[in-house]
């Protein structure tokens, strides 16, 4: 009982810190807007209406939430283990490529093929995550650099695929693959919008992540992240857990790739991942690596990117303001975390 109270209190404090970080970022950006002669309230109003103004806009915001949520969950699992997987984009892209290759070239009835494409994406993620994990655990190669390099390598592999072997033969030379047959596309959840079944998958994965942290494996991964020596003394095989964590983390990103290709794009195009990787990074931190926090953060950042476009259209505020808010949010979140640590030390 007491334990639960402590947990609740720290959850409240985390949430408060994140909200403060967001408010500070909005405040700083509001000052910037006022300084250059925009009305910040009008701009933020346009942003809010652009994200939640009607059913269609809410659906678009939710569509954008799906990949952010999945990738941020994956990022958070790695971060909990102090593995700095910043290559979500590469893992997303690889999942998209492996699954669409299976979907386009395997001749099976859709009802059987769709689950196989899902498995192909996840296997792709596990593979690339395992590669990074083994390099880190066995050869001590810094995962920041390897995942970053893999981002570029995957970007070029994708570009090669859609310009070469996987290019749509009837696509007039556009760099894209043939479109997926109807039967292989995820169903639409709200008719008349682009919101697809991926939202259900993303929410289920969020709930599963909550239970994952309560599982034995989740506990051990957290312990490895907190203190490798203690983990070692408690008989945990540290390298094995580093590799597994990296595999799970990349698996989530690859799953995000699958969901977006089969639910939204229905084909591969160049630079499919865009800036999802960096948004997922921000969201994982903003959500303080807590699955529910990440869910809220993902919705918030999806709303920012969808609403930001409206803000540009109706208020003439450059869309790049959204990126400034993102960057500031991280800076304020880490400053707050450090402030708390200092406070604890002076008391203790």
């Amino acid at each position: 009982m007491k334990d639960n109270l402590v947990k609740l209190k720290s959850f409240q404090e985390d949430a408060l810190a994140s909200i403060l970080a967001i408010l500070s970022a909005f405040f700083v950006c509001g000052l910037m807007l006022a300084f250059i002669g925009h009305n910040p309230f009008a701009a933020y109003g346009a942003l809010f209406r652009g994200a939640f103004g009607n059913t269609h806009k809410i659906a678009e915001t939710l569509v954008k939430t799906i990949p952010i949520l999945l990738m941020a969950l994956g990022t958070s699992i790695a971060f909990k283990c102090k593995i700095w997987n910043i290559g979500g984009n590469g893992q997303y892209t690889f999942g998209a490529i492996t699954s669409i290759a299976v979907g386009l070239y395997l001749d099976l009835p859709p009802i059987i093929l769709l689950p196989i494409t899902f498995i192909a994406a996840v296997l792709g993620g596990l593979l690339i995550g395992g590669f990074v994990g083994v390099l880190k655990a066995k050869l001590n190669a810094n995962e920041v650099i390897t995942t970053l390099m893999l981002d570029y390598i995957m970007l070029y592999i994708l570009s090669y695929m859609v310009n070469g072997p996987m290019m749509d033969p009837e696509g007039f030379g556009f760099p894209q693959t043939p479109i997926l047959p109807e039967g292989l596309r995820l169903m639409t959840v709200i008719p008349g919008t682009r919101l697809h079944f991926g939202i259900v998958i993303a929410v289920v994965m969020m709930v599963l992540t909550i239970y994952f942290w309560k599982s034995k494996l989740g506990f051990r991964i957290r312990l490895v992240g907190e203190d490798q020596d203690v983990a070692l003394y408690s008989g945990i095989h540290v390298p094995k857990h580093l590799i597994m964590t990296m595999m799970i983390s990349a698996g989530f990103a690859a799953l995000a790739g699958w969901v977006e290709v089969f639910g939204l794009h229905h084909r591969l195009q160049e630079n499919l991942a865009g800036n999802l990787g960096s948004i997922a990074f921000v969201v994982a931190l903003l959500g303080r690596l807590n699955p529910i926090g990440i869910g809220i953060g993902a919705l918030f950042f999806a709303a920012l990117s969808v609403g930001g476009a409206s803000m540009q259209r109706y208020e003439g505020v450059p869309y790049s303001l959204v990126g400034i808010i993102q960057g500031l949010v991280i800076i304020f979140v880490i400053s707050k975390v450090v402030y708390e640590r200092k406070k604890e030390k002076t008391i203790g």
Partner: protein
């Protein structure tokens, strides 16, 4: 296929390789100081775009390329102080802080550009650095056009290779930098101000990255574009690892990255059918391989990415 072997192709390929390598080289040399002092600055991608913008704005409004260069250096320095503050003073995680600065830099530059210049049909341009005429050197056949017909910034970058090596290997400051990166506690006990040295190294990294960004906007092209850095800051981080913190090897590594890029552009322009994407990804694959080699021998600075505080052990 005959055109591949022609002299003109060869010359334009090598001269292009040098030009494409320069922004990466600037940023990588600065990052060598930063990493040697124990800090991984992933924010140089963001610093470079700030440098590109401030270099362009400075030149545009004064008509002086020198003012442009100085403003790129100044704003690169200023922006890098945020990294210094986050990673040194408040001891935040460097990967997170650097990523934040890269995201922030790209958006901030794009935002400010729109505020300063508004929306225009044609982008504003400036007169860029012109190529030098080094007398008889520039007229040596083959070598002249490859090596001696570049603008002043190219030679500045090459000179900084020597300067960086000299400062790190031959001066007391260089010794302090390495000490702070390897054994901050020992350095501290010998009276070296660990955090000050780290601040200086992050700032040098900021100034160099600012120059690298400015090379793109006022040395290579004559305008500013939002996506003009295109990952070169991250490539510079890779180059530093690739070169194992040695300025000469950084030059080689930057040339390899630049060469792969120049080669695919020129092969494409003469219509050779090779998958240029695979060529482009080669340097990244090489970086992973080198990283594995470097990491096994544990050649990283011992205090890499670890903040220093006197109280904690």
């Amino acid at each position: 296929m005959g055109s591949i072997l022609s002299e003109g192709f060869f010359i334009s390929l090598l001269a292009g390789t040098i030009r494409i390598s320069i922004p990466i080289l600037f940023a990588a040399l600065g990052e060598i100081y930063t990493q040697r002092s124990g800090i991984l600055n992933l924010g140089i991608e963001g610093i470079m775009i700030i440098g590109a913008l401030s270099g362009f704005v400075g030149t545009f409004f004064t008509g002086s390329l020198l003012v442009g260069l100085l403003s790129a250096m100044f704003f690169g320095f200023l922006y890098s102080l945020i990294m210094g503050f986050l990673s040194i003073t408040i001891k935040a995680n460097q990967v997170i802080a650097g990523t934040a600065l890269s995201i922030l830099g790209a958006s901030l530059a794009s935002f400010l550009y729109r505020v300063i210049f508004g929306v225009r049909k044609l982008p504003p341009t400036i007169k860029t650095f012109s190529d030098l005429d080094l007398g008889f050197l520039s007229r040596i056949p083959v070598l002249g056009p490859i090596l001696f017909r570049h603008n002043i910034m190219v030679y500045l970058a090459l000179a900084l290779v020597l300067v960086t090596w000299f400062v790190l290997e031959k001066t007391t400051f260089g010794l302090k930098v390495k000490a702070v990166g390897e054994y901050p506690r020992a350095a501290d006990s010998k009276g070296v101000h660990v955090n000050l040295i780290r601040y200086i190294c992050v700032s040098i990294g900021g100034v160099y990255a600012g120059l690298g960004g400015a090379f793109l906007s006022i040395g290579f092209m004559n305008t500013y574009m939002d996506h003009m850095i295109a990952g070169r800051g991250f490539i510079a981080v890779a180059v530093v690892i690739f070169s194992r913190w040695n300025p000469y090897r950084a030059l080689t590594a930057a040339l390899i990255f630049g060469g792969a890029n120049a080669l695919q552009m020129r092969l494409q322009s003469i219509g050779v059918e090779i998958p240029n994407q695979l060529l482009l990804s080669l340097p990244y694959i090489l970086t992973i391989l080198v990283l594995v080699g470097v990491s096994k021998k544990a050649e990283f600075p011992a205090a890499f990415t670890i903040p220093y505080s006197r109280e904690e052990k």
